[in-house]
Symmetry: C2
Subunit: 474 residues, 2 copies
């Protein structure tokens, strides 16, 4: 059995124990045995088994497990995880869950859990801790770490500084590889995700990078200066994590230096941080595209879910109300020709669909920086061309269907023209909305889809019923 499978089996075993035994969960949560002796013995055994499995699992496994359990079971498992292990678990769980878990801990426990973390991890966690605790954490640190933590918590969540890692090895350029290797043996450990050492001068300015491979491949007497990479790729802490992620993917990096504006080495960024960034981004896109906020998990209690979703529903209702009022303008037309009421959702629907295809294409191209130097007018013409072709094809088909259903050539013609015009409107707005949002400095992925649907609904009703009023009424 591969290690991955074994770990997954262990996770499954814990879930099973907790999910199939309500008494066990209650027992853990109440911290007092309320059952008969024989049952009690069994519960204690099961608790011990869970504790044993917890000891064998990585923090990331425990985080996954916590996310996959309903509320009570989650809390029961959390209470069984030793304080020393909780800090790393908190780093790994998503924001929606860590709040609940932190709330379940006493201040003292939080301090103990946070103390053993690295500075960059403490910085990440400190945003989710009660404000008062941060001060107490700072006082427990030694001066250098305190300065690093103060520095790290000042950066925005999408800045490189936020995830900057301070565990790195620096060496001088004038020593030999043998000396470097002696120094490493003296240090006894090399931080995770280290593929290179950073070469600095006396003022801590980064002057090169020495890969572990270079140390192994060259004769021990070689000076560092002759085999180091003298033009290393480096970032500044204010740069955006998204850009760093692009560079890591493009140039297959494991770690890079982070330097200040004067070129002094501040820390490093590793591929593990980047993986987290990429995952978080794709998760947040997934949630946004479905109208969810980042703070709801699948087992969130009903009241939380309602609170999280209400804003989207409210917006949806408002736009629907506007569309409804547009239909209201044409009540007389509808009274003359009820068939229009059956056809109007088709015009609106196909417009929304096309508009969203265009928006998706543009938002994606913007995210991949494909439009930076591109021809925006070309893009608009292309989308209008696609809408024209689709409008003629599908408009004609629906026109014929309408004729077949209601036997009126005029109504078929109105249907066709309305679909064509609404598709053109959808293409136009599908290009303009995301581009204007970028021009206004906003994220085009948020809200574009709601706006286009609102416009194609309202526009579709207006175009269709307006045309019908002009052409079909006596």
């Amino acid at each position: 059995m591969s290690t991955v499978k074994k770990l997954s089996a262990q996770r499954r075993r814990i879930s099973l124990l907790l999910l199939e035994n309500k008494a066990l969960v209650e027992d853990i949560l109440n911290r007092q045995p309320r059952v008969t002796d024989k049952e009690n013995k069994q519960l204690l055994d099961q608790t011990a088994e869970i504790c044993q499995l917890i000891a064998e699992l990585h923090a990331a496994d425990l985080a996954d497990l916590l996310e996959s359990l309903p509320y009570d079971e989650r809390l029961a498992l959390w209470r069984l995880i030793p304080i020393e292990k909780r800090g790393r678990v908190l780093i790994e769980v998503s924001d929606s869950i860590s709040d609940d878990l932190i709330k379940d801990m006493k201040d003292k426990e939080i301090l103990r859990a946070v103390r053993i973390l690295d500075v960059d991890e403490q910085a990440q966690l400190s945003r989710r801790l009660p404000r008062s605790l941060l001060g107490r954490i700072l006082t427990t640190l030694e001066a250098r770490q305190r300065a690093q933590l103060r520095e790290a918590i000042n950066y925005d969540e999408d800045c490189i500084g936020y995830l900057m890692d301070f565990k790195l090895i620096t060496i001088r350029a004038d020593v030999t590889l043998a000396a470097v290797q002696r120094y490493l043996r003296y240090r006894k450990t090399i931080p995770d995700s280290t593929d290179k050492l950073f070469v600095t001068d006396r003022k801590n300015t980064l002057i090169g990078e020495l890969s572990l491979a270079a140390i192994l491949l060259h004769p021990p007497k070689t000076p560092v200066a002759t085999v180091m990479e003298t033009h290393p790729l480096m970032f500044q802490p204010e740069e955006r994590l998204e850009e760093a992620a692009g560079a890591f993917e493009r140039y297959n990096l494991i770690s890079t230096a982070v330097v200040d504006s004067k070129g002094k080495l501040m820390g490093r960024l590793t591929v593990e941080d980047i993986m987290d960034v990429v995952n978080k981004e794709s998760d947040s896109h997934l949630r946004r595209s479905g109208g969810l906020t980042p703070s709801e998990d699948v087992y969130a209690p009903v009241y939380k879910a309602v609170r999280n979703r209400w804003a989207w529903l409210a917006i949806n209702l408002c736009t629907a109300l506007v569309a409804s009022r547009v239909i209201g303008l044409f009540e007389d037309t509808l009274a003359h020709l009820v068939a229009l009421a059956t056809l109007m959702p088709i015009v609106a629907g196909i417009g929304g669909n096309t508009g969203n295809q265009t928006i998706t294409m543009i938002v994606r191209a913007l995210a991949l920086h494909q439009l930076e130097h591109g021809k925006k007018s070309y893009l608009l013409l292309k989308e209008l061309g696609v809408a024209l072709v689709n409008g003629v094809i599908w408009g004609s088909i629906m026109g014929l269907v309408t004729y077949a259903l209601y036997g009126s050539m005029a109504m078929g013609g109105v249907m066709m023209l309305a679909i064509l015009l609404n598709l053109l409107l959808a293409a136009l707005m599908g290009v303009l909305i995301p581009l204007s949002m970028v021009a206004l400095g906003r994220d085009p992925a948020v809200g574009s889809s709601v706006m286009i649907t609102a416009i194609t609904d309202t526009g579709g009703f207006f175009i269709f019923l307006g045309l019908a009023t002009l052409c079909l009424l006596p």
Copy 2:
């Protein structure tokens, strides 16, 4: 200026040269100067500048650049990239573009471009090449590589075997670290993304892993066996890449061994491959959520875009037609009470919105394996609970709005009840659709959203107009 910024400036310069000079593009595409001498000199200079910049850029940069250029400019740039560099660029560009680029090359050129790639890269590319070429590529390889390529092309795109990398270093357990280091110096290179060497026995069975750090940290006389990791994490080529990506993220891996069912070492998987997998997945999700196929790029010509999008539009029109027929059932009711036509899109719209929220939540939880041991009935009850609360709140508000608009208590009541019932329907189907798709072995992310919208539209119209027929007609 950081290296990343310099590279990005170089990319921008190439775009600018191509986009602002139609004559240059035509000149390159026609491969014959059609301009006067003085202009010609300038074009040649610019071509030379682009060639110089191409030489300085990574393959991944060139791939990005190709994706960001319109059709003609893209082809012009492609023709300037030396054949030897094209293989790697083809690996990096997305499928939609690589087809066009390959079509522009002669068979001989393709063979030359492919020859210098690693076996795993050849395997990835070979799927996009004309069938006849694959045989010719196989004949150019030496026996061992031929066997590896034959092996690699047999795996599905979502299997670990598909991205398995054959560049790795194996050592024996009974040698000393000094011997390992001597061997590395003799080999002269260490493959990219190597954080560990693989320890095998004479039958090529994987028995351990030796990290580069371990070689550096322990005294040279230490035997490999005493410092190697004896329970390494390993995968089999048939396992899914998605699971490997989870493990890489969870355990912060740089590389892992891939072994066959008997534990024999076949290859390795590296974090760079995993980054590509993660990026491709999030891109394909983005496209799917907007109803786009993976083969359309933002500069695709109109006919291609129409072809790519027609299927979604056809499905949308079919479901809209069904919804329209449901409204048609109630034409008599609508004729009596035209106001209903203005209100019915609201009921359908809010149902679709809620349903998509639920679907997003469930699809996300399924992707993160959060429901494997979870309580599905709990989930259904939770979503129904959320729908009940939202239905009562928003239903009442819309009921009051309806009363305010039309002065009819009965109509307000029908509105409220219809919204409540449609939200409950949306929640029920929002849970059942993705779970049933998983039970049927299909990907719940594809099509769920279309299905839920179709159901809440049709259901919303039916519920609202049905209730109105029962309660409001004389």
